[in-house]
Subunit: 486 residues, 2 copies
């Protein structure tokens, strides 16, 4: 479809963004058509790299006029193939990396206004340089971009205290599917003058428009940080520990991360660490972090009180309290490297589920039992942000089994068992990773017809030509998938 | 339009909700067609009072089939005429007061699931009885209902710490304009599986469907509460005091309320208090409240540190720290009675604006100057939640001038001056009260064409027949207003 007018398209793009803003050679285009997990490969006639929202608008206007489909792309770190084009080669990629300006930091308003192509790390650094915290904390901070964080409503390890990307956003600028620009770059905490339109674009995975800039909330920079690694009898105890910790430490709790015995042993192998931080068998462990604007000693005492109370309630078997920043970093490194350890180990089935916090223990117990019926030797790599109900439930092949064999034999059954159970517990099959292409057909199974109809109504209302990020998120789409590489 | 088939309509309604669920006599209907401020009066053939979401669905199905318009109504406490029918008599009122069940409190998940007709006070009490806090705090708690709180994205005095109603909501059940029920009564903090549809209905003022139930977030019950009344040189100093307080007290700050000199003298008259809490001329005052899950003495010390630091920076002229619950209640009473004092005084122009927190001082200074040019003797009753940028800017007639004369002579000019200035400072003309009918035509002036188009697209997508709360919020509507009584 695009082929016969490819030269006209390229000419138009070059006219808008200049030759340096257009990538067309295979080698140049490569990083933008393969997802970062190396699972999906698509095609595109051109990767367009605009520098301003006006250039984005002009590109989209052209596409709207000529029926050209558009894949908006930030750091291309989607976990679900959401940021690469499909295999048809009918869609251009608009990559926002060159739109990485910080417009303004308003200290008294506690806001930062940035272009969508800023990396998360860049925004965090700019906030820090102004004595403020931008609290979103996810592993890909150095490469993921704000536009992608917004479009996927990114979560991470500090949602418990600060909320997810939706909660951190006050204003947006969006290029709509017809190329018009909706600008609402305002830093207001209260504004009840009609539908809160920014909510439509946050978490929409680029299917309703292209976010080009945002006003984000900042928080006071914590002055104290206390971290402990805690061994608990089982996940259920962890949830009671959380409830008890909330009563004692309230909003000081910044992170509450679960690590299963198999997740711990995997990451220790990966990091070539001979000793676990806590002695004895790994058991279920919780990384708990408190932060505050007060004194370090005071906060350490609060954490001690949390642990002592939990010990009295027999919710804790062992614990280590980090006594230096180096120790804090070490404990966090263990937690944060689990994901990479898995990627390197190959052959894990990644289920990013959430359930009500009260059901986390039930979920882990029952899902594990079901998986071990399906694949009795699977390593139960389970971790995540259980403080907000989010469990990364990622059964891994035993060392003796080939990764591809394991995935092809058990992958679908494990996914179905975990996702089905989560939904039956009023949970979600994608807590923070989004839908993209990886989860899009599953929606048909787990969403009600009414909900799918509502989603389609919204899509049709804003993007009647189905031009924005085709084939992503909405399950009825007939656009071909990207090729699945592995 | 409705008249000729009124009997059929009534018969159908009685069939669904029973005779006791239908009000038709003028005297019975009266409280449901006049808004609580006594400004707007509408007409309706029937007030329907369903008891279940299924009854709501059946009523709406009937209305959808027969083109009957619907006004959803909770406690009818709208500040902007959003909850009464228009003068045409073409719309039925669906009042949700009888749907006031508390479905579930999940302590470990920190959630409460309630029907939309629960009053806010009822939800707060249920939470308290379970040792949890439902943190929304607004004056009308005893009569406003959760459905209305959701539909207007209610704010109030604790937004600074806990966010507004949008931030407090995890799940919804909604009867759509075609009578289908979208049920998502789940208590998940993370769920990225498609458009976050609940965001559409929160703050939509009943124009996209009827919220029938919700899952709301609870917070740990604070164990300490420290309150001070502080005299500051001017509103600009107040904002610097806030920034300084945030650095010292962080998320402990629960409320930060401004009271202008005229607001203080008005409320003292109203309460027949001879003495103000702080001696000397009233000046600009701030009611600041900290809450925490820790000890009272510790929290008092934090507040003392806030005040001492501010004194060193010459941001504070005088202060009183409440030393008992009775004193705390007294200080809050003064703040909370300002609104009633104004209502009783009659003749105030109520502007509910927000600006970035950093602009609050500029706004108050400049807006006051403009108003005093328009009406040199106006009493500058200014107060509100400046901790979140929300200013109730309500110039009041001088005692010697008749209320109606003042409003007819100056009302529009004052509104235009305040709202226009707020918008020029990237602010909002309705921070928390919503649009209803009172502000709907102003939107035409202050919203961009792109934004109005987007709003209309959303409305058409969900309610193509324009049946839900006609004439509210969307400025292009041709439905007649309710009669303006005064």
């Amino acid at each position: 479809m695009i082929t016969f007018r490819k030269s006209a398209l390229l000419k138009a793009m070059v006219k808008i963004v200049g030759p340096e803003g257009c990538l067309v050679e295979d080698a140049d285009v490569e990083p933008f058509v393969v997802d970062y997990k190396g699972i999906y490969r698509g095609n595109t006639p051109v990767v367009v790299r605009p520098k301003t929202e006006d250039e984005v608008a002009q590109v989209v206007q052209y596409c709207h006029k000529h029926g050209v489909r558009v894949v908006p792309q930030g750091g291309n770190t989607s976990m679900v193939g959401g940021s690469v084009p499909d295999a048809s080669g009918n869609a251009i990629v608009i990559n926002l990396a060159r739109m990485n300006g910080i417009y303004e930091i308003d200290i008294l308003n506690d806001t930062i206004t940035v272009q969508a192509g800023c990396t998360l790390a860049q925004v965090c650094d700019a906030a820090t340089a102004s004595g403020r915290l931008f609290p979103l904390r996810i592993g890909s901070a150095g490469s993921c971009q704000i536009g992608g964080n917004l479009s996927t409503n990114a979560g991470g390890t500090a949602v418990l205290k600060y909320g997810n990307m939706r909660d951190l956003t006050l204003g947006l600028e969006v290029v709509l599917p017809d190329g018009r620009v909706w600008t609402k770059l305002r830093g207001l905490r209260k504004d009840n003058t009609g539908y809160d339109l920014k909510q439509l674009f946050i978490g929409a995975e680029g299917t309703l428009g292209i976010i080009t800039a945002a006003v984000l909330k900042l928080a006071p920079m914590p002055t104290a940080r206390s971290v402990a690694l805690v061994k608990v009898p089982d996940p259920r105890s962890a949830i009671h520990l959380l409830a008890s910790a909330k009563e004692i430490a309230g909003q000081a709790i910044n992170a509450f991360e679960l690590i299963s015995p198999d997740a711990m042993s995997l990451v220790l192998e990966h990091l070539r660490l001979e000793r676990a931080p806590l002695e004895g068998p790994a058991g279920w462990q919780i990384l708990v972090e408190l932060t505050s604007g007060g004194g370090q000693q005071e906060l350490d005492e609060v954490l001690m009180r949390v642990l002592e109370t939990a010990q009295e309630q027999q919710l804790v078997q062992d614990a280590i309290l980090a006594s230096s920043n180096a120790q804090i970093e070490h404990l966090w490194k263990i937690r944060e490297e689990i994901s990479d350890a898995q990627t390197r180990a190959k052959g894990s089935v990644r289920c990013d589920v959430s359930v009500p916090i009260s059901r986390v223990g039930d979920f882990i117990e029952e899902a594990s039992a079901r998986v071990l019926e399906i694949a009795p030797d699977a390593r139960m790599v389970i971790y995540g942000h259980v403080g907000d109900g989010n469990v990364h439930f990622n059964p891994l092949r035993p060392a003796s089994v080939d990764a591809k064999d394991f995935l092809s034999k058990f992958g679908d059954a494990i996914t179905e068992a975990a996702d089905g159970l989560a939904v039956s517990m009023e949970g979600s099959i994608s807590a923070e990773h989004g839908v993209g292409v990886a989860k899009r057909d599953e929606l048909r199974k787990y969403k009600s017809k009414v909900e799918l109809d509502l989603m389609r109504s919204v899509k049709r209302a804003l993007d009647p030509g189905d031009l924005m990020n085709p084939g992503k998120m909405l399950p009825e789409d007939t656009v071909p998938y990207p090729h699945k590489i592995c």
